[in-house]
């Protein structure tokens, strides 16, 4: 083989490799381990800011299970959903006043390595949370929302949100401490801490 041919082959191979790397980024895979393990997600400082109403909850807890193999991995984008059920939000206040949060549906934690590093998103189903202030008619209903993706801090097993959105909401009711009815988007803040028998790992 001539030098010219070998050089051409090398250049072609390099180009193919480069394309493969690029393609690899586009079709990233995700593996969440350990498969089939129970996991609890909790927060002591979750807050949702909907315009001039800020909801804060001192305790948020949801539990689920990492999908069993092979459901714990994907060769495409989009990551893996961990169903954390219907979380419990207690110790809640809205603008300093006691508030009750009624949750429903399946909340999901989506984890992925689409970008090459671990990320997490909280996915709230439509109507997944209804916030009421018992002493007023004010109600805030959270619509289908995705908060993230945010970096999944694997060593500390947590995801930290800071005014992250988008949380879709519809607000109704009247009263001195209730702003005008509106539909809008809110942001979420807080640290979602994960606990499991074996630390969760998210890899490409």
């Amino acid at each position: 083989m001539s030098h010219a041919v070998r050089r051409t082959t090398f250049v072609t191979a390099a180009a193919v490799a480069a394309i493969a790397v690029a393609a690899g980024t586009a079709s990233a895979s995700t593996v969440v381990t350990p498969a089939g393990q129970a996991v609890t997600a909790s927060s002591s400082n979750l807050s949702i800011k909907t315009g001039t109403i800020t909801l804060t909850c001192s305790s948020t807890t949801g539990s689920g299970t990492i999908p069993a193999a092979p459901g714990n991995s994907t060769t495409g984008t989009g990551g893996i959903n961990v169903n954390i059920g219907t979380p419990s939000l207690t110790g809640c206040k809205a603008n300093g006043l006691p508030a009750v949060v009624t949750t429903s549906g399946s909340w999901l934690l989506n984890v992925s390595a689409d970008t090459g590093s671990a990320q997490g998103s909280l996915v709230i189903p439509a109507g997944g949370a209804v916030v009421t202030m018992p002493g007023s008619t004010c109600t805030v209903t959270v619509g289908a929302s995705t908060i993230g993706p945010l970096p999944f801090d694997i060593p500390n097993q947590r995801v930290v949100a800071s005014n992250t959105g988008t949380v879709n909401y519809t607000r109704t009711g009247t009263g001195p401490v209730c702003p005008a009815a509106a539909t809008g988007t809110a942001t979420m803040s807080g640290t979602l801490q994960f606990a499991s028998a074996t630390p969760i790992n998210v890899t490409p």
Binding site: K93, N95, G96, L97, P134, G135, G175, V177
Partner: protein, 264 residues
């Protein structure tokens, strides 16, 4: 000039020498919180674990009308501050009672300063050396107020201290046993605002409160042995039954979750 007015002025002249200086109700002070947009919340009894919400109502203006006697309420003359606890009560409308917890400064959480009654003693606004013709009224709570932190309502059992050198230091409209019951409900919503740096808050600006239900008892303790009660009754048009009086105020109301202050 009516005979009634002549008698009134004559009575005042008789006791003019018995000048008693009345002390104004002092306003309790507390260290203001850093970055707070007003002076409040520092009075909130956050050391009491039952305190859930800190409330501060700052009256910015208004008018009291006692059977035709109109008294403008200047800004800063009344402030209600303290904590609110929520105690379970299955029989209550929303399953709990709201309990006002006063500050730890020995007050009932009501801070008022004397309000000048227009026209003074004679209703003519004629100044007289030494303030002899000036009348001031001060709202004094006779029991703890009740506060609805959700509807921003305030019920305040109070008496009005009437101050004038001629009337002595114990001249009141209303008493602990027969108070004026101010039941201030919101007649016009204010504007809900955020308080920068304090996310767990509801700052409601320019809330209008009103009450037209309170009655005002006759005077007591005015002058020596109450000798001038009749004169005060005459000037204030009291006793005045419910429906003849009104109180309208404009206030800024500041609520905050007590935990937010505990972590400051």
């Amino acid at each position: 000039m009516s005979m009634r007015t002549i008698r009134f002025r004559a009575a005042l002249a008789v006791v003019a020498a018995a000048v008693l200086t009345l002390g104004a109700v002092s306003t309790a002070t507390a260290a203001p919180l850093p970055n707070a947009p007003f002076g409040g919340w520092g009075k909130c009894p956050i050391a009491n674990p039952e305190t859930s919400t800190c409330v501060d109502v700052v009256v910015k203006g208004g008018e009291m009308n006692i059977n035709g006697l109109k008294v403008p309420i200047p800004s800063g003359s009344l402030n209600i501050a303290g904590g609110v606890a929520y105690r379970e009560n299955p029989d209550a409308e929303f399953g709990f009672d709201q309990i006002f917890i006063p500050p730890t400064d020995g007050t009932k959480g009501v801070y008022s300063s004397p309000i000048e009654v227009p026209g003074g003693i004679f209703g003519l606004g004629i100044p007289f050396p030494g303030g002899l013709t000036t009348i001031k009224a001060t709202v004094e709570p006779v029991a703890l107020p009740t506060v609805d932190a959700f509807q921003l309502g305030v019920t305040l059992p109070a008496r009005l201290k009437i101050s004038n050198p001629l009337l002595g230091g114990n001249c009141y409209l209303g008493s602990a046993s027969n108070p004026i019951m101010f039941k201030l409900g919101v007649s016009e919503n204010g504007v809900l605002e955020e308080v920068p740096g304090f996310p767990d808050t509801a700052a409601v600006r320019n809330v209008t409160h009103a009450d037209q239900t309170f009655a005002v008892p006759g005077a007591s303790g005015c002058g020596l042995f109450g000798a001038l009660n009749w004169a005060v009754n005459l000037r204030a048009n009291v006793p005045s039954s419910s429906g003849h009086n009104s109180l309208t105020t404009t206030s800024d109301v500041f609520n905050i979750g007590a935990d937010s202050l505990r972590t400051q």
